[in-house]
Symmetry: C2
Subunit: 481 residues, 2 copies
Amino acid sequence: MNKTLMTDFYELTMAQTYFNNGKQDEEVVFDVFFRKNPFEGGYTVSAGLDNIIDYINNFKFGTEEINYLRSLGMFSEEFLNYLSNLKFTGSMWAIPDGTVVFPNEPIITVKAKVIEAQLIETALLANFNYASLVTTSTRRIINETKGIPVMEFGARRARGIDAAIEASKYAIIGGCASTSNTYAGMKYGLPVSGTMAHSLVTESESEYKAFLNYAKSNPENTVFLVDTYDTLRSGIPNAIRVAKDYLIPNGYKFKGIRIDSGDLAYLSKQARIMLDEAGFTDTAICVSNGLNEFTIKSILEEGAKINSIGLGDNITASKERIGGVYKLVGVVKNEVVEPRIKVSEDVIKTINPGFKVPYRFYDKETGYALGDVIALYDEEIEKDGYTLINEYHPEKRKVITNYIVRKLQVPVFEEGKQVYQIPSIMERKEYSAKEMETIYPEVKRLLNPHLYYVDLSKKLLELKRELILEHKKEANEAVRN
Amino acid sequence: MNKTLMTDFYELTMAQTYFNNGKQDEEVVFDVFFRKNPFEGGYTVSAGLDNIIDYINNFKFGTEEINYLRSLGMFSEEFLNYLSNLKFTGSMWAIPDGTVVFPNEPIITVKAKVIEAQLIETALLANFNYASLVTTSTRRIINETKGIPVMEFGARRARGIDAAIEASKYAIIGGCASTSNTYAGMKYGLPVSGTMAHSLVTESESEYKAFLNYAKSNPENTVFLVDTYDTLRSGIPNAIRVAKDYLIPNGYKFKGIRIDSGDLAYLSKQARIMLDEAGFTDTAICVSNGLNEFTIKSILEEGAKINSIGLGDNITASKERIGGVYKLVGVVKNEVVEPRIKVSEDVIKTINPGFKVPYRFYDKETGYALGDVIALYDEEIEKDGYTLINEYHPEKRKVITNYIVRKLQVPVFEEGKQVYQIPSIMERKEYSAKEMETIYPEVKRLLNPHLYYVDLSKKLLELKRELILEHKKEANEAVRN
């Protein structure tokens, strides 16, 4: 299925404009970045590069697409003919999936012919925005579970079937231990998990019988859902009875119970006592029911006895969004990238101009990330003694020393050729977990996190101010004309 | 692409349990319903049936699926063999897409063999939840625009590429005039729209030149984006210049301008004055920039001069969710549906038992919907003089008269055969708009809407109370044993 046309219609009318003006070979530079961490949080975890690479590799206007565009009566045959031969021949750099990223830094930089760069915008953003949202939502939760594994159960609440499948993958990258989504398990080789729903109990003549029948059919996977009627008075006693009547006599383990409603802190503590008293000290307690990072933190502080967590909505149907944008930052003239800017009355919406590279400075001793700097592509970064300058309060400066500096982006496409191999899902998961360890706890705090420094290099800062003033001048002249 | 495995893993372990207990031919009844309108609103607009029907028609475990399940080492060959021959042979009733629906009413009712009914759960919910969310989000916005057309621009903020395509369709059903998603336009035959982004302007040597080049290449589609540098001092003057220099002399129309930042109420009023003074009284003003139903209502109250609205995030990446659930409500024993219940400490989570039918009562004079009643499938509804009984305050009663009563669900599948033809997208759009007209303005109010009545029939209410008491008794006995 060719999804090349998954592009906003204006990309095509603009492309026709560039084409008619003979600009089809003009190279430009675009950045993908976002302006705000989701959840009023201190960080974002980037993802989506896998699907972006697929989109670009499959980017091709076939006969169906060209015929459809022709049917709209808005495009010339010359332009349609040009499109039918178009492929992506540009270059792309990106911060790898699973990296902790921050507002305003270029996550993906595209340097390509203007029409190619323009047409891929929508797919780049849709993939980046969604994937990063799921990965970030998951990571915020994982950071609060104190190592208790989280199973992703959210397919039914996801944004349709296809979004569910992608969410399962990004939830794993974000730190989940398994998914309930069997299709995603098959497609991506993810660990799948799940045992029973309330319907198994309500269908049955009794809760005891439901558990017993389930145990006989799935003896290696015995996690009983105990809250259909009454968790403490019916569910747990019945689960224990089945364990004693059937599992233990037949050499099977009583793996666990799941509580899906009620006060999970209280019920899990009571459940632990009941299971321990019955001799099932190894039987795990799983909880679920609309949990999020805040409720998890809170019930764990209350001493909830939990061995695993099932989580759906707040991973696959997070009530947030990441507003990644794709902005033109430069036009290549005589082989040099001429910086471009979009100013805005809203200062924060004025973009950072030019062909740029984001760097991260790590403390050589502790390994913690000290701050990021966005520099122009041809700048040299000092090996020691770098001065961080606050963009809006340039008198606020800080000299950092004894650091290791890392270029955050890697080359992904070079002149149309993919030069980056996406690591496996499990590799990305592991990488992302390690990434989190480099971030100060203050930045990861749920409420009022510390603002991580993302500064502009002195050179970039000066360039930005220059361009803003230039445009103010032009606007004034436009009025006078 | 076979998506049959888009099912939560526990559906399969439960299915194996039913199979091993010889229950594969046992029929059950499940309901899809939700407990809360999104956005603290007064209503929801149902959708997703199209994709649900597709899923069920394509439901088939092929070789790849069976091999994958076998590889997990948890399923018997007998069960896998059973799955490989499985198709959906049950019946399904559903409230048509585009209908205004309310919490707790059965949107979809499935009567099928227990394994079939169980396995389709995840896909039913993922489709219903997402589609209804987009349709409802859109409708809430459309209800506030006073007839000003809304263009859906949200592909880049959607939950990945595939969710974007579906969102475009449901946005049209919810009332949008067009979409920017070209793929969705091609796939579903939707009107597409769009003109230019800021990059067209920043790429160019000047704003004037960008507009001029655009006009020459797309002379029939001239909506200029005027806020790249300065809306009033640069953008609008340049658009007017291009209209005077090129469009008018060459016999083309100056169709419009789009303002994408700043105070849209103020800027649109100023823009109207500037355009009118320049003689372009027919030139349209389009606004965009993260608008939602509240900001639209507010800027229109402030007298904003707007001819069309572009809207993305709040349609395709709405910060809400619909939490549709799928609950077993009955088991067929000796050809009679025996009602089942799931009780909960949280009263509102106790489900309505039994095989049910939702009805809507309309005022014969005004056409307004007076209230809904959920009744058991074999109840007769009085032709006149129906007593509505409040479930939690049964002393609160209201006798309604002079009504027309409508069965909300239609048959969709009968014994595995599809018996319902989904209306076209435009038919569903029109139907949904008419549906909205039957809802009292008080129910559509954005803040603190009037609670629409959804009551249980007297018979259902009595059944529910009986079953709750019965389960309380059982739980007590379980403790004593």
